[in-house]
C-alpha cells in the first residue's frame, strides 16, 4: 500500500489499471450518493440516463454524424490551407503573409459573420468557413512552431547530402515533419470540437450536438445537458486517441 503512495514508484500495468478503476468507481459512487437526496446541485445518474434515452430517440446518432461531418470537412480544408501557409513561411517573400494570418487567432468572431456572409452565400458553408478561418489561424501558428523547432543539425545534414534549398524544404520540413503535423491536428482538434457548439448555433437547420446542447440549456434540462456533455467529451477523447493511434501506426518512428 505504501508503495502506491511513494513518489516516482514504478508499479505494474495491472496495478495501474486497478487504481484507475478504483478512481472511476469512486467518482460514480460520489455521483450516486451526492444526488440521492431530494435536493441536489448536479443531476442524478437516472436523470442523465433518461436524458440520454430521450436524445437517442430524437436522432442523437444522426446529430453526432452531422457534427463529425462538419468537423472533419473543416479540419481537412484548414489543414490544406495552413500547410500551404506554413510551408511557404521559410520563403522570405511569403513569410509576412503566414505570420499575419497567425495574428488573427486573437480576433473574436462576433460581428464578423456578416462579412463572411458576403463571400459565402449558404448558411451551411458559412459554418464550415467560420471553423476553417478559426482553425487555420491556430494550425498555421502551431505548424510554424514545428518548423522553427527543427534542429539546425537536420538542415546541415541535408546540406551535406548536397540537397538544394528546395530539396531541404521538401525533405526536412515537409516529409520530415509530417508526423508532427498529424500531432498538431490532434491538438487543435480540441479547439475545433469545442468551437463546434458555438458554430452550430449559428445555423441550427443543420442540427448537430451544438444544436442539441443549446436547446437543452434553453430549457434548463440538466439531465440532457450532462448527457450531451458526456457524449461530447467521449467523442472528443475518442477522436484524440484515434488520431494518435493512426500517427503511431503510420509513422512508427514517431513513437521513438
Amino acid at each position: 500500500m505504501i508503495k502506491f503512495l511513494t513518489p516516482f514508484e514504478k508499479i505494474s500495468k495491472s496495478n495501474k489499471t486497478i487504481i484507475l478503476v478504483l478512481w472511476i468507481v469512486l467518482l460514480i459512487a460520489i455521483w450516486f450518493i451526492g444526488t440521492s437526496g431530494t435536493k441536489h446541485l448536479f443531476p442524478s445518474p437516472a436523470q442523465v440516463f433518461s436524458g440520454f434515452t430521450a436524445l437517442y430517440n430524437e436522432g442523437l446518432v444522426e446529430h453526432i454524424f452531422n457534427s463529425l461531418k462538419l468537423c472533419f470537412l473543416s479540419i481537412f480544408l484548414a489543414v490544406v490551407i495552413s500547410m500551404l501557409l506554413a510551408y511557404s513561411w521559410p520563403i522570405p517573400a511569403l513569410k509576412p503573409v503566414s505570420e499575419f494570418i497567425t495574428k488573427f487567432r486573437f480576433l473574436p468572431f462576433t460581428g464578423l459573420s456578416f462579412y463572411v456572409a458576403l463571400l459565402v452565400h449558404d448558411a451551411r458553408n458559412m459554418q464550415v468557413w467560420i471553423l476553417v478561418i478559426f482553425l487555420t489561424t491556430f494550425l498555421t501558428t502551431s505548424l510554424i512552431a514545428v518548423i522553427k523547432d527543427i534542429p539546425e543539425e537536420e538542415f546541415d545534414h541535408a546540406k551535406t547530402l548536397k540537397c538544394s534549398r528546395w530539396e531541404v524544404l521538401w525533405q526536412v520540413i515537409i516529409l520530415g515533419r509530417i508526423d508532427y503535423v498529424i500531432d498538431v491536428i490532434r491538438q487543435n482538434l480540441a479547439i475545433a470540437w469545442m468551437m463546434l457548439v458555438t458554430v452550430e448555433s449559428i445555423v441550427v437547420a443543420s442540427g448537430g450536438l451544438g444544436f442539441l446542447i443549446k436547446n437543452s440549456d434553453k430549457f434548463m434540462n440538466h439531465g440532457r445537458i450532462i448527457a450531451l456533455q458526456i457524449i461530447i467529451l467521449l467523442i472528443g477523447l475518442g477522436l484524440d486517441s484515434g488520431i494518435n493511434f493512426l500517427r503511431k501506426a503510420i509513422f512508427r518512428y514517431s513513437k521513438i
Binding site: 430524437e58 436522432g59 434540462n221
Partner: protein, 604 residues
C-alpha cells in the same frame, strides 16, 4: 500494427485498412440502426383578426412631485431587493417609480419604503440564472438574498411566461424536490404597443396568403414569434416551426443565431443584400422528400431597435403586424419567487403599487414621461433620453413611398392592471394570452419544448394576483378602453375557420369547442380590432334555407364570443353568404367540408 490483429502476414498498411473498414462498418451499422432526426409537421389553427384604434385614456390623477436623481438615504437601512429585466421601454413606469436603477430621494419606492435595485440584463438565460441563484441563497436560509448575481423577480414579456416558468419549474423540481419553489407572475406594469413586430414585403399585408412558403427569421418562443404565429393563424395559414425543414405549403420559421432578435433583423438584411441562403430539408404533406432546398429569408420578427435597423438598411419592407394590433399580447410581467414573496407580501405589493402610481403619472403628465426616459437611460446605460422618449410614443417614417412604424410602448396604471386580469370586467386578457401561447408551445414545439420540458405550468398556478389585490390606498384611476365607435376599414387579418355545426343546425358542435376557444384567445389579444363574421354553407338543401342557416351559424359564433365577454359593439358585421361563395367544389365530401366555414375578419 501486427500486434493488433495478432498476425505478421499482413503489411501495416493492409492492417490499417482492415481496422478502418471494420470500425467504419460498425459505425455505419449504428448510424442506420439508430432512430432518425425527428421532424415536425406544419400546424394550422383557425383564423383570427385584430384591429387597432388609439385608446381613450382620460384620468385626472393629482400630480406627484418628480423623483430626484440622488440616491435615497431614507431606505438605505431597509433590506435591498433586486429585480432584473431587458432594456425595454414598457418598464418605464416601474423604473421611474424607483427614480433610476437605485431608489432615489422623493421616489415612489422611497415613499412606500422599498429599497429596490433594477438591473438591466438582456439575456433570458442570464435572467433565469439570477433568479435561480436567488432561490439557492434563499434555500440556504438568507432572508434577503442580495448577492450581485441574485434577483427575486425578473421582468419579461408576459407571453413568454409559459415558456419561462415551465422550464424553470422543471429545473426547480429536479434540484430541490417537487413543488418546493415556484415562480409566479405577480403583476403587470406595462406592455409593448407596437414595438414587437413582423416585418415583410407589403404584399403580406394586402394579401396575407402570399406569405405561404415564406421563410421568416425569428427567435423561437419569443414574443415577436408569437406575433408572427398569431398573424399566420389569424389568416388561416399553416406554420412550420421545424428549423430544419422547408414546407412550401406553410409559413416557415428560421431560428435566429444566438436567439438574438437583432440577428433576426440582420439575417433578413444579409439575405436580401448578399443573397445569403439557408439549406433546409424539403417537406411535402408532412413527409421528407429527401431533397434539400436553399431559401432566402423573406421576413423577420424583431423589436426595436431591430426594426429600425431593417428599415434603415432595406427598401420595400414594412411592419406587417405588431403588438399594436395584438394589443393585449405582450404585457411586461413581473415574475417573482412565490415562497419568498409570501414571506414579504408588503414589499411586493408596494413595488407594484409604486410602479402603477408612477405609470399613471406618465400617462397624465408630460414631465413624468421625460423623467421616465431619463431614468430608463440611466438604468440601461444605452441611447439617449430623447431616443427612449420617442420610441416610447412610437415613430412612423416613409421610405420610397412605403410607411412603416417603429417602437411603441404603454405603461399600466392600477385600473389597467386590474382590467388586464379581468378583475373589473370579467375578461381575463392575460389568461387568453397565457393559454394561447401554452398551446403554441405544445403544438409547434419550438426547440423541442415537449421533449425538454414536457408540461406547461397551468395558468392558475403560474399567476398569483394576491399581491396586486393586496394593494390598498391607491389613487382611483381609469383603465384604457378599446374604442369600437368608429367604422374600421383596414383588414388586419382574415381567417377561414372550419367550425363544425351539427347538420342543418346552427349549434356549434362539441368537437369545435377547442377551436372556438383559440379564436376567442386570439380576439382577446387583438382587443382593439373590430370584427366581421360571415358564415358559409355547402350546397346541401335549398339556397334560401342555406342563406338563413349561414347567417344563424355566424350568429352562433358571435353569441358564443359575446357570452365569453367580447362586447357586441365590436362586431361590425354579422352576415351569411349561404352557398354562394364556395371555396371548393361541392361534388366531394372534402370540398363540402371546406365550404362549410365561418370567416372572421379583423379590421382596424
Amino acid at each position: 500494427m501486427g500486434k493488433i490483429l495478432r498476425t505478421q502476414k499482413l503489411t501495416t498498411f493492409s492492417e490499417l485498412l482492415i481496422v478502418i473498414a471494420v470500425i467504419g462498418a460498425i459505425l455505419a451499422g449504428v448510424y442506420y440502426a439508430s432512430p432518425g432526426i425527428r421532424t415536425s409537421i406544419s400546424k394550422q389553427l383557425s383564423g383570427m383578426d385584430v384591429n387597432q384604434t388609439d385608446v381613450n385614456n382620460v384620468t385626472n390623477a393629482e400630480k406627484i412631485e418628480i423623483p430626484s436623481k440622488d440616491i435615497s438615504t431614507e431606505v438605505s437601512e431597509k433590506p435591498l431587493v433586486r429585480i432584473a429585466g431587458y432594456a425595454w421601454n414598457a418598464q418605464s413606469g416601474i423604473i421611474v417609480a424607483n427614480g433610476g436603477p437605485k431608489t432615489t430621494k422623493g421616489s415612489l419606492m422611497e415613499k412606500n419604503g422599498v429599497n429596490l435595485e433594477i438591473i438591466r440584463q438582456d439575456w433570458l438565460s442570464e435572467l433565469r440564472n439570477m433568479q435561480m441563484k436567488f432561490i439557492e441563497e434563499f434555500d440556504k436560509g438568507q432572508a434577503f438574498p442580495s448577492s450581485d448575481k441574485s434577483v427575486f423577480a425578473v421582468m419579461i414579456m408576459g407571453d413568454g411566461a409559459p415558456f419561462y416558468i415551465s422550464s424553470v419549474q422543471k429545473a426547480l423540481d429536479e434540484k430541490y424536490g417537487k413543488d418546493k419553489y415556484h415562480l409566479q407572475v405577480m403583476g403587470v406594469v406595462g406592455m409593448s404597443y407596437g414595438e414587437d413586430k413582423l416585418i415583410g414585403p407589403p404584399s403580406w399585408k394586402s394579401d396575407p396568403k402570399s406569405m405561404k412558403g415564406a421563410v421568416i427569421s425569428a427567435v423561437l418562443g419569443d414574443g415577436d414569434w408569437v406575433t408572427t404565429v398569431n398573424y399566420c393563424f389569424a389568416n388561416g395559414l399553416k406554420v412550420n416551426p421545424d428549423p430544419t425543414t422547408y414546407d412550401a405549403d406553410a409559413v416557415n420559421i428560421y431560428p435566429s443565431e444566438n436567439d438574438d432578435y437583432i440577428k433576426s433583423a440582420e439575417e433578413l438584411i444579409k439575405s436580401q443584400t448578399t443573397g445569403w441562403t439557408v439549406s433546409l430539408k424539403e417537406v411535402v404533406n408532412g413527409k421528407l422528400t429527401g431533397k434539400t432546398v436553399s431559401r432566402k429569408i423573406d421576413g423577420c420578427a424583431t423589436w426595436t431597435p431591430g426594426d429600425k435597423t431593417v428599415f434603415d438598411k432595406l427598401s420595400g419592407f414594412i411592419d406587417i403586424v405588431s403588438t399594436k394590433e395584438f394589443n393585449n399580447q405582450m404585457p411586461t410581467a413581473v415574475i417573482g419567487v412565490k415562497e419568498w414573496a409570501t414571506k414579504n407580501p408588503e414589499i411586493v405589493s408596494n413595488i407594484l403599487k409604486s410602479a402603477l402610481v408612477a405609470s399613471n403619472q406618465i400617462k397624465n403628465y408630460e414631465d413624468w414621461k421625460v423623467r421616465a426616459s431619463e431614468a430608463i437611460t440611466d438604468t440601461y446605460k444605452m441611447e439617449t433620453p430623447e431616443y427612449w422618449y420617442k420610441m416610447f410614443k412610437g415613430q412612423s417614417a416613409t421610405k420610397n413611398g412605403l410607411t412603416y412604424n417603429m417602437g411603441g410602448s404603454k405603461v399600466f396604471n392600477y385600473a389597467d392592471a386590474m382590467q388586464y386580469f379581468g378583475l373589473t370586467d370579467g375578461v381575463n386578457r392575460y389568461k387568453s394570452v397565457y393559454n394561447q401561447v401554452s398551446g403554441y408551445l405544445k403544438d409547434l414545439n419550438p426547440f423541442g419544448f415537449n421533449e425538454n420540458v414536457g408540461e406547461v405550468v397551468p395558468y392558475d398556478q403560474a399567476v398569483n394576483l394576491f399581491f396586486l389585490k393586496n394593494i390598498n390606498d391607491i389613487e382611483s384611476t381609469s383603465a384604457d378602453k378599446a374604442d369600437y365607435s368608429n367604422q374600421a376599414t383596414e383588414v388586419v387579418a382574415s381567417g377561414e375557420w372550419k367550425i363544425n355545426f351539427n347538420s342543418g343546425s346552427a349549434e356549434i358542435s362539441s368537437t369545435s369547442s377547442k377551436e372556438v376557444e383559440k379564436i376567442y384567445n386570439l380576439l382577446v389579444q387583438a382587443e382593439n380590432t373590430k370584427l366581421t363574421v360571415v358564415g358559409h354553407t355547402d350546397n346541401v338543401g335549398n339556397p334560401d334555407g342555406n342563406l338563413a342557416l349561414s347567417k344563424s351559424r355566424a350568429q352562433a359564433v358571435v353569441d358564443y364570443l359575446k357570452q365569453k365577454g367580447i362586447p357586441a359593439s365590436r362586431f361590425q358585421l354579422i352576415d351569411g353568404k349561404g352557398q354562394n361563395e364556395p371555396l371548393s367544389s361541392n361534388n366531394t365530401p372534402a370540398g363540402k367540408a371546406l365550404n362549410r366555414r365561418v370567416v372572421i375578419t379583423l379590421l382596424k
